[in-house]
Amino acid sequence: MMDDFMIRAALAGIGVAFAAAPLGCFVVWRRMAYFGDATAHAAILGVALSLAFSMSIFVGTVVVALLMALVVSILSGRGYAMDTLLGVLAHSAIAFGLVAVSFLSGVRIDLMAYLFGDILAVSQDDLAVIWGGAVLVVALIGWRWSALLTSTLNEDLAYASGINPKREQLALTFALAITVAVAIKVVGVLLIAAMLIIPAAAARPLSRTPEGMALMAGLIGVVSAIIGLRAAYVFDTPAGPSIVCIAALTFLVTSVFKAVRPQR
């Protein structure tokens, strides 16, 4: 009864959940939620530019997301509070992106597909890009894991152990840009940050170590993707938002669990 496109959709969702889990943990630990949001919103500008210059959407979104991250890190600490700066950049990026898309004559694109994802239309090629990107992100974070964790705990502790926290930050930014680019088809730019933050936050009360939290976040993300897709099929609801809803419900459940067992 599962059609072919449903299997591709499930595989796409699992791929994104897989990449988003360890990265999402760092986003939560380092309080980068708005940074993730700004990077994701910038991706819509990337979509517009990719279509205008007829290049791959993946490449366009990665480049713009990286540029966004770069602009944020250059401008931060220059007289604006971080939340103000990110608010300005995130919303300008999406506004400029939407305006840029409207200039594209002759191309009728379905904006909704980029804003909220179009997981049911994932092709074999999309699947290859999503899994390629996901494996790259997980490999990068796995490779830098201890150094990233040390830098996240305390920058001076990292320096004293011979780790350069700025370089680790760069690795994380790169991973974030890739994740945004692969997740755009699955959940869309508006809900990418949700896939990063919600499974990680839901995993927190169940974990005692950083690794445990990353694995648990992965599990929650994958289960949310599968149940969310199934729910979307049964109730005829939009797939991306359905996945996020399931993740949010999981967060609710684990938060209640934490309240009932406060000693964790």
């Binding site: 705990l153 920058e155 001076d156 502790l157 004293a160 005692r208």
Partner: protein, 249 residues
Amino acid sequence: MSLVQVDELCVTYGATPALSRVSLRIDPGEIVTIVGPNGSGKTSLLRAIIGAIKPFKGQVSHARDLKIGYVPQKLHIDETLPITVSRFLNLQGGVTSTDISDALTQAGVPELEKAQLSQLSGGQFQRVLLARALIAKPDLLLLDEATQGLDQRGSASFYQQIETVRNTTGCAVLMISHELHVVMSASDRVICLNSHICCEGTPAVVASAPEYRALFGSGTGGALALYRHEHDHGHDHADHHHHHTKVVE
């Protein structure tokens, strides 16, 4: 061969100079204490030694393969990051469980292995930080006001622990402290810093140096006067009284 050599180090923040022409050397096995008023560049000096800030002028050189154990002034663990003490001690990997229990014992908190970092008390946390610094068997231990937030007894026993560690492992110690009376007695050498090095030498020499007196008050009793002075403010009455009794003893 010195472990660390600092030559004519200048550090600036924007246009504000934090350190000017500071030179010092740390030799194996010695305990050196940096004292100085707030904003005198003590933390900047330590951060320059670990490479967290770039010198504006001058240079910092390390002995080949120098292993540094660093205990920061404070370390905020975000509630969202779950981590046990034993995982924290094994951040860099390659540490056995024997190493972990040895380091915790050395730091005076052998029972904390399985505890969550975010649930430790201030004193336990500082000792876990010390254990982490010790686990890599450092040649040089750097402590940045490591006893902040500990009471009199807690910090005294903390510094005793440091001395014990130095005596058993032979590592050098460079530390910053406000608690002059406690650290002065345990130090081989004291450096008095106020953007530049005002004076340095054995604790007795520094305590009687006019530059030091100018910064820390001109009491005649050396360390004892400082002891009194520090507890003249910032405590409630009962505590105050208690300390005076101890001084009189």
